[in-house]
């Protein structure tokens, strides 16, 4: 495109970044301010910093447990949905399955359900139907991983389909001709080529699972509670502990931020991948 001096762009982006970052900055301000000072004339500049909320959050073993659950559930769910989604997309792309467009659309509709009303049936299914003797899926990590599939699997399929479609079919055909098994074709030919797309899917499904609140709040009690449900403990009739909530939020940002910056490069690459092929 046109060669111009880059500085207007930099200026523009500094401005946009300011707008993007301001609420996050404000989250930080909340986390280091006593609540009664939040209820006074606000000031953009931080007056003084009080780390008490952070020390409390760090010193709280329950929250560490929640953090662990969040990490395991969202990672497990991201891997599961991406894998299943990848298989499904491959099947939709390479096989002539009857009604596959209908199946494709039908899988997507799973994401459209308003969550509040599905909590009751999910609760009943998890406690009464999907059980082996005394073991039920309620309040287990595996249960949450499976439940999150309802909104993440459609997303994974929606995202991965163009990527898989974008891998030239000739490549697998050639492999078949060489006598490779279908399984080998998937894992050794198609999979490596899809890697950027898979990375994007992995990361976004991870983020969706990491951020989910309503389902986790209802379907976990003690063992599988996630950080977002931990937050709700601080909204009470005797006062909302904004500071603690904000401090926890800052903590929830950290793992997400690390994961995001590491794969940032892949995201755009992954998104771009399929399109470039076309």
């Amino acid at each position: 495109m046109k060669k111009k001096t880059p500085w207007p762009y930099v200026f523009f982006w500094v401005l946009i970044s300011f707008l993007t970052l301001f609420p996050i900055y404000w989250l930080f301000v909340i986390s280091v301010t006593p609540s009664f000072e939040l209820f006074s004339t606000p000031s953009v500049i931080l007056q003084h910093v009080d780390w008490q909320n952070y020390t409390e959050v760090i010193g709280n073993p329950t929250l560490r447990g929640y953090m662990m659950n969040s990490l395991l559930i969202s990672s497990g769910n991201a891997i599961l949905t991406t894998t299943f989604g990848f298989f499904a997309c491959y099947a939709l792309s390479r096989f002539n399955l009857s009604g596959k467009e209908s199946i494709f659309f039908w899988t997507i509709t799973n994401r459209m359900a308003p969550p509040a009303v599905f909590l009751l049936p999910l609760f009943l299914l998890l406690t009464k139907v999907y059980r082996i003797e005394g073991f039920t899926l309620l309040d287990t990590r595996i249960g949450m991983i499976l439940v999150y599939c309802t909104f993440n699997l459609p997303f994974a399929i929606w995202t991965l389909r163009p990527t898989v479609d974008g891998i030239p079919k000739e490549l697998d055909e050639a492999a078949f001709v060489d006598g490779a098994s279908p399984w080998k074709v998937i894992t050794e030919v198609v999979f490596p080529l899809c890697r950027p797309g898979l990375a994007v899917t992995l990361i976004l499904t991870w983020v969706f699972a990491w951020n989910e609140y309503l389902l986790a709040a209802t379907l976990t009690n003690f063992n599988a509670r996630t950080l977002t449900t931990g937050l709700s403990e601080y909204v009470t009739t005797t006062g909302t502990a904004w500071g603690i909530m904000a401090a926890i939020s800052i903590f929830t940002l950290i793992p997400a931020l690390i994961v995001f910056s590491v794969v940032q490069r892949h995201i755009v690459a992954g998104l771009t991948f399929g399109a470039v092929k076309g």
Partner: protein, 292 residues
């Protein structure tokens, strides 16, 4: 060479999981929607009610009003997100120092949980003590009160949603723009086409599928928005931001109106599916012959 059986095997995990965690709950909701059921009514058990709930829904002013504000919310939020997202994606097309850094910053809102987004915006917009009303008051003398002004609350929820989700749109559109072949643009420039003409006749048609796909995902997610709004306004002032997700939440959680709430959900899901299906077949499917 390869059998369809293998294809079905690959699809099976998806179908099984979605059947047990998506379809079965849905069927249960449909079943409940034909019943009158409130565990704290004089008769706390499920009473078969035929289509009674649906008869009630079509005259239910609160529900229809909620549907109306939801549609308005989704329309403005998604429209703004797509426009802003496109402009930002376009701005990422040039090379400039620190591009990757800015891109990372721009994606940050995505990774904040909706419930936290709601909390932040609540504290930023609380009348008189939030930073936004304060700045507006001291700079232009405008009194922003999302507890009193329906319009203000509505707009703030849209701004919040735009802040939260535009990065997703930007990312997808960057991908689309990067993949555009250079030839048509060069040709057009040689022909002396203006910027606007190039956008309208070349860029837009080429990125249209990407835009539609983004709209599709945003539409689905915006229609079921709950956490943020519940935290920010609780659906108020009045019913100004009582979007359908919030409405259903209030109907089935505190009011324990399971039967009627299920019926509303079924209608909402129906409308969502139809809207998305029309969008999908209308915009995407005709571009290729359908096979099955």
């Amino acid at each position: 060479m390869k059998s369809n059986t293998f294809g079905w095997i690959l699809l099976a995990p998806t179908i099984v999981v979605l059947f047990f965690f998506g379809v079965l709950p849905f069927l249960y909701v449909v079943y409940v929607s034909f019943h009158q059921w409130n565990p704290f009514a004089a008769n706390p058990y499920m009473i078969y009610n035929g289509a009674g709930n649906f008869r009630q829904i079509v005259f239910d002013g609160a529900f229809l009003a909620s549907l109306g504000v939801t549609v308005a919310f989704v329309f403005f939020a998604v429209l703004t997100e797509v426009i802003v997202g496109y402009l930002l994606a376009q701005a990422f097309m040039s090379d400039f120092p620190g591009k990757a850094f800015f891109r990372t910053i721009h994606t940050l809102p995505l990774i904040i949980a909706p419930i936290i987004v709601g909390s932040i915006w609540k504290l930023m917009t609380t009348p008189s003590i939030g930073i936004i009303p304060h700045l507006l008051q001291s700079s232009v003398g405008f009194d922003l009160n999302i507890g009193q002004s329906a319009a203000a609350a509505f707009i703030i929820t849209i701004i919040m949603d735009v802040w939260h989700w535009t990065p997703l749109v930007t990312l997808t559109l960057i991908a689309a723009l990067v993949s555009l072949p250079p030839d048509p643009f060069e040709q057009a420039q040689i022909d002396g086409a203006g910027k606007w003409q190039i956008f309208w006749h070349i860029t837009l048609p080429m990125i249209a599928p990407a835009v539609m796909a983004t709209v599709f995902i945003r539409l689905m997610d915006a229609l079921r928005i709950v956490d943020e709004v519940l935290m920010l306004t609780g659906g108020g002032p009045g019913s100004a931001t009582r979007y359908i997700g919030v409405h259903i939440f209030r109907e089935v959680f505190p009011r324990t109106n399971y039967g009627y709430g299920s019926a509303i959900s079924v209608v909402v899901l129906y409308l969502t599916i139809v809207a998305c299906w029309l969008l999908y077949t209308g915009m995407l499917a005709p571009r290729k012959p359908r096979k099955s």
